[in-house]
């Protein structure tokens, strides 16, 4: 039916609007329509998706409250059949990163994950820049087979300005597939990572901390600095001392000041803090990699240094 269009989808609605922003640009370049997929229970309605740039909304109505990834997959494949897009962008959430390779395989095409720059060249191939080697390097890749599939992380592209534009809503119907897995329990996590992304100052803990109680040292420092608290992945995912971590698989931050305490500086962590303006690190191992990635480093025991730092800052505040 339609040719040379772009199709976007994310179950994360804010991310879907960001994809519409980038998708609009690519669709204009390809002189094709921009379509997006919506599952009926989602919190954003078709009209709004059109205001944010969609020409077509492919709506799958009333899928039930707890739909399965196999249903997402089937709906997306049906949508692809309807509009045969040349480019498919999917939001890089964990669900999205499971969905994208699945539909790529079903469509026998390639897939570029976590693209932070996207462009269509003269031939209509999709070019992307993405992090590789644990986050320490940037690759430029070209997708040569259509449809081109890519996932895009949150907050990389901006949503378009909403406007009163026209668009059409196309209802799609599929027979819901019988799921191959059963979710027997879902334990919701409390989330707070958005604060990290917009924080001006972040103090962060690594495995140099010996217990959860010791994080008090960091909390006190955070209080004088008006800072948010971050951490490395083991502290959140292994120990569960905090919920959110910073890095390639966690939040990407860009504060004015980032203070890393007891963090070794693996590439996976550094990939999340590279946009910080000034990085300070405190580590007792002089050879720790974090010092290579810092503007200022203090070699020593964080248990000794942090109280002194907090006290000094308090004094500074009180005096001036």
């Amino acid at each position: 039916m339609t040719e040379r269009g772009v199709m976007v989808y994310s179950e994360d609605k804010e991310l879907e609007l960001q994809l519409l922003g980038k998708g609009r640009e690519l669709a204009d370049r390809l002189s094709g329509p921009l379509s997006t997929v919506s599952l009926g229970h989602e919190s954003i309605d078709a009209e709004e998706l059109i205001r944010y740039g969609a020409d077509q909304v492919l709506l799958f109505k009333d899928p039930g409250p707890d739909i399965h990834i196999e249903t997402y997959r089937a709906v997306l494949l049906e949508a692809v059949k309807r509009v045969s897009p040349e480019v498919i962008l999917i939001g890089s959430t964990r669900r999205g990163r499971e969905l994208a390779p699945r539909i790529s395989s079903a469509l026998r095409t390639g897939y570029m994950a976590e693209c932070i720059e996207l462009e269509v060249d003269e031939k209509g191939d999709l070019l992307a820049r993405r992090l590789v080697y644990g986050g320490s390097a940037m690759a430029l890749e070209r997708s040569r087979r259509r449809p081109h599939v890519a996932t895009v992380p949150p907050r990389i592209f901006r949503r378009a300005e909403p406007s009163n534009r026209a668009g059409e809503v196309i209802e799609i119907m599929i027979e819901k597939p019988k799921p191959k897995t059963v979710v027997v329990e879902r334990r919701m996590k409390s989330r707070g990572g958005e604060a990290l992304e917009s924080a001006r100052v972040i103090v962060a803990a690594g495995r140099g901390f010996r217990s959860k109680e010791d994080l008090r040292l960091l909390e006190e420092l955070a209080e004088v600095l008006g800072a948010e608290i971050g951490c490395t992945r083991p502290l959140a995912a292994d120990s569960g001392w905090l919920n959110e971590w910073i890095g390639i698989s966690g939040h990407k931050v860009k504060p004015k000041l980032y203070i890393a305490c007891g963090i070794s500086g693996t590439v996976q962590h550094l990939a999340g803090i590279r946009d910080s303006q000034v990085i300070v690190s405190i580590n007792k191992d002089e050879g720790a990699n974090i010092f290579q990635a810092s503007d200022y480093g203090l070699v020593g025991d964080l248990y000794v240094i942090l109280p002194v730092l907090t006290r000094t800052l308090r004094k500074l505040k009180g005096e001036s």
């Binding site: 699945r102 390639g110 996976q268 203090l298 020593g300």
Partner: protein, 263 residues
């Protein structure tokens, strides 16, 4: 329990990565070894074998260099190692890799479980597990941090951004594991020696009835270049006679950088 198949990627050893200082490009020839997350997938398979039996087979798409990673797997305790080569010598993308893996897995039936890491740290693209599940039409559970196999059924805890999910599936199934699932064992000297006597079985695309033109045709992604961005950091180690003095100096630096807001 039938076979447990572990998909291994012989990944670049990130700690050995060398960069050309002027072009900022990655230099050739870093050491290759089992990807960190695939190693955890293998560890999990070994633990399942210890509990419920089965044969642990490892499978990698690669070339002769990949034998280092396969030997590492045999040393950890894998029963058999399979190397799948394209026969063309060319780099293969994930689409082609999954097509080759599906063909190889076809030779290893019956199996109960296919395990791999949620992604490889060098390419960071997390495709192989989902792609293979799709091609084989099997249940898929991704980002697994806990796994129990019990009377032909699998129960897993998977980690999503907003929730942990407890998920069940019938076997056979495909599982991708995350970093938190286990700590991989370190092979003993004895098992390293013994590994050298275990077989590495090679399949090439032709022997798997995958026509070479299909391998080449499937190439959908091309890597144009890889660069390491220059990190412009000051790398000042702040030192004083005492801790108080070092901290004072640090604070002065931060004030002059304009990043410390004290009014």
């Amino acid at each position: 329990m039938n076979r447990l198949i572990v998909l291994l990627k012989d990944a670049v050893d990130l700690s050995e990565l060398k960069v050309d200082p002027t072009t900022r490009r990655i230099l050739e020839g870093p050491k290759r070894r089992i990807g960190e997350l695939d190693k955890r997938a293998l560890e999990e398979a070994l633990r399942i074998r210890e509990k419920v039996g089965g044969e642990v087979c490892t499978l990698t798409v690669g070339d002769d260099r990949s034998k280092t990673a396969l030997l590492e797997a045999l040393a950890m305790g894998a029963d058999k190692a399979y190397l799948v080569t394209t026969g063309t010598g060319a780099w293969v993308d994930a689409l082609t890799t999954s097509i080759l893996l599906r063909a190889a897995v076809g030779r290893l039936t019956p199996f109960d479980l296919i395990l791999c890491g949620e992604m490889s740290l060098d390419s960071l693209s997390s495709q192989i597990g989902p792609r293979l599940a799709e091609l084989l039409d099997l249940p898929l559970i991704t980002y697994v941090k806990q796994l129990v196999i019990d009377s032909g059924r699998l129960r897993a805890v998977r980690d999503l951004e907003d929730a942990d999910e407890v998920v069940q599936a019938e076997l056979p199934a495909v599982v991708t594991v995350s970093r938190e699932i286990n700590e991989p064992r370190i092979p003993s000297l004895m098992s390293i020696m013994r590994a050298k006597t275990k077989p590495i079985i090679t399949f090439d695309a032709a022997s798997l009835d995958v026509p070479p033109e299909m391998v080449l045709e499937a190439q959908s992604i091309e890597i144009i270049g890889v660069e390491v961005p220059q990190v412009e950091r000051k790398r000042v180690i702040v030192k004083g006679e005492t801790i108080e003095e070092s901290v004072e100096k640090l604070v002065h630096h931060l004030i002059s950088e304009g990043v410390l807001e004290v009014r």
